[in-house]
Symmetry: C2
Subunit: 326 residues, 2 copies
């Protein structure tokens, strides 16, 4: 277990190192400074580490995968920059968002450039499967946009079903986990069976990750979480918990939940009431169950892989996702 | 000459046809509708036609180039969508811009998705040089972002030199012409010499195109131009004409030009005065000269190519760019 943690940390460090190498003093500064800023702003670097691990799991080597891994991280950061504009988010990872520190135009443009930056990094990969990798990245970019579009549509859509919600998070969050794994497996030279197993693992893990995200917004310890809880409630987001609560609520409780949708639950007291309601209705347990079952399904996908250290590490990591508190 | 025009029109139609095929009824509608809207909004389709012609010039075939050509057009349209947000432009090609018809979030997101859309289209190309083509597109995307970043920086930068202006238009406009030609030549299987000649032709042609754009804003016939003249003056843009006028102006004239920079020349009368000043200072002639010489240089780049119909057509087309009135 400890060796897994050490390995994870060491891969994180390699990602950080490469991201640091990419920082540039080039002009135009209004574009390159915000890119440097977001890429040096920390983050868990989960997706690129998954890429490195997926490549390793199929016998690929680190050196030929680092560019693909970093491409994934850059693309992920692009989504953060643009999503933050759309969500009017003022802070991210404890620092101002780009459109707050600079302005929206700067954030739009540096986000755009980061897409090119990601492709450029991926193109450094020496692999006969580079076209396939490009195609996977492209597909990921497209779906992550679709996911965000659904998410924005849901803000004003009258009824959102749990099925629709799951489709949205599959595209907005889980797809990037799946892309990270798939690209690693492809660049690493995996067989079709291996690629398919690792890709599915990523998808299910990503889904668990997002439901955990929704859950943490309600039950996290604020100190460990690093931000105030109840953000989703204040923003009127249709989360996994919200939608299940709506489905299980009586008419009176529904009225309260409708206030959330109208973004009218902003005070600490109101947020607390909603959190209490979630507990009363048992949706905390439903979320925990869903996370557990997605992780279990993810781990099952690994069965067809060779019994090596990588496989054990993925098992460990999937469990970690279910236990994470930030 | 007439046959060149006919050929150009027929290639334009092929691009329109393919763009029409790409229209989709898919969800999320908030993303796909604006993409359909911008791609069906007309435009001269110069860049993708250049891609088809460049491939043909090196012996490539139409069928294997159409996807690359359409990818270029999609990428160009992405830049329009995002630039229009940043420039607060309300209309484009006689219709509302996406962020005006929908909102900024929709415009950001559909623009982002169009980048993926462009790569996806390019990836349909059957060519052993596909990686190189992807790399060219990526480089183009990156530079076009840099160009737009410079353009926005110039709005508040105290002094902008003509050299800086030329670097900006090379990235913001000319690069896309060059990318269009280069991708066509690469996908068409051209030799290094051919690729290099066609790429340089595109760059110089694009530069002429942009200076002509700046010029038309001052001297165009509004009916043929399709929009009011003086738009750049009202927006305080540092155009080719403006910067040359500034360099040649006496202290009194400079005061007038400083009003332009401060976006204080908004009325028809004020715009007319600036246009008159441009004439007095001879910058209209300087612009015409610059267009002519860039076109001449562009045509010279073709010397190393075989003396075939394609070469004649590029000659013809370059002259057309210098004569265009919209």
């Amino acid at each position: 277990m400890k060796s897994f943690r050490l390995k994870f940390n060491s891969y994180q460090k390699s990602i950080e190192l490469r991201l640091k190498q990419l920082q540039t003093n080039r002009s135009p500064r209004s574009m390159h400074e915000p890119i440097n800023y977001i890429l040096s702003g920390g983050g868990k670097r989960i997706r690129p580490v998954l890429t490195l691990l997926a490549a390793e799991a199929v016998g690929g080597n680190f050196k030929s995968t680092i560019y693909a891994a970093v491409a994934i991280e850059i693309l992920h950061n692009f989504t953060l920059v643009h999503d933050d504009i759309m969500d009017n988010a003022t802070s991210r990872r404890g620092r101002k968002t780009i459109h707050t520190k600079w302005d929206s135009n700067v954030a739009i443009l540096s986000g755009d450039a980061m897409i090119a930056f990601a492709y450029n990094e991926l193109l450094k990969t020496k692999s006969k499967n580079i076209s396939e990798a490009i195609s996977i990245l492209t597909n990921g970019l497209f779906e992550v946009c679709e996911g965000q579009a659904y998410d924005k549509e849901f803000e004003t859509q009258k009824n959102v079903s749990i099925k629709e919600y799951l489709k949205m998070i599959d595209k907005k969050t889980a797809k990037m986990f799946s892309v990270a794994m798939e690209i690693g497996a492809v660049v690493g030279g995996g067989t079709q069976k291996e690629i398919s197993a690792l890709k599915s693992f990523g998808m299910l893990l990503g889904r668990a990750f997002q439901i955990q995200d929704d859950l943490l917004d309600v039950i996290a310890d604020e100190k460990e979480f690093g931000k105030k809880i109840g953000g989703d409630i204040k923003e009127g987001k249709r989360t996994f918990l919200f939608l299940h609560a709506l489905a299980k609520s009586n008419p009176n409780q529904k009225l309260l939940l409708q206030k959330v949708m109208l973004k009218k639950c902003k005070s600490t007291k109101e947020v607390e009431n909603i959190c209490k309601l979630y507990k009363t209705l048992g949706v905390i347990e439903i979320a925990k169950e869903a996370i557990k079952s997605n992780i279990f399904e993810a781990q099952k996908k690994l069965e067809s892989l060779k019994n090596n250290e990588s496989k054990k590490m993925f098992f460990w990591f999937a469990n970690k996702i279910g236990e994470r508190n930030n």
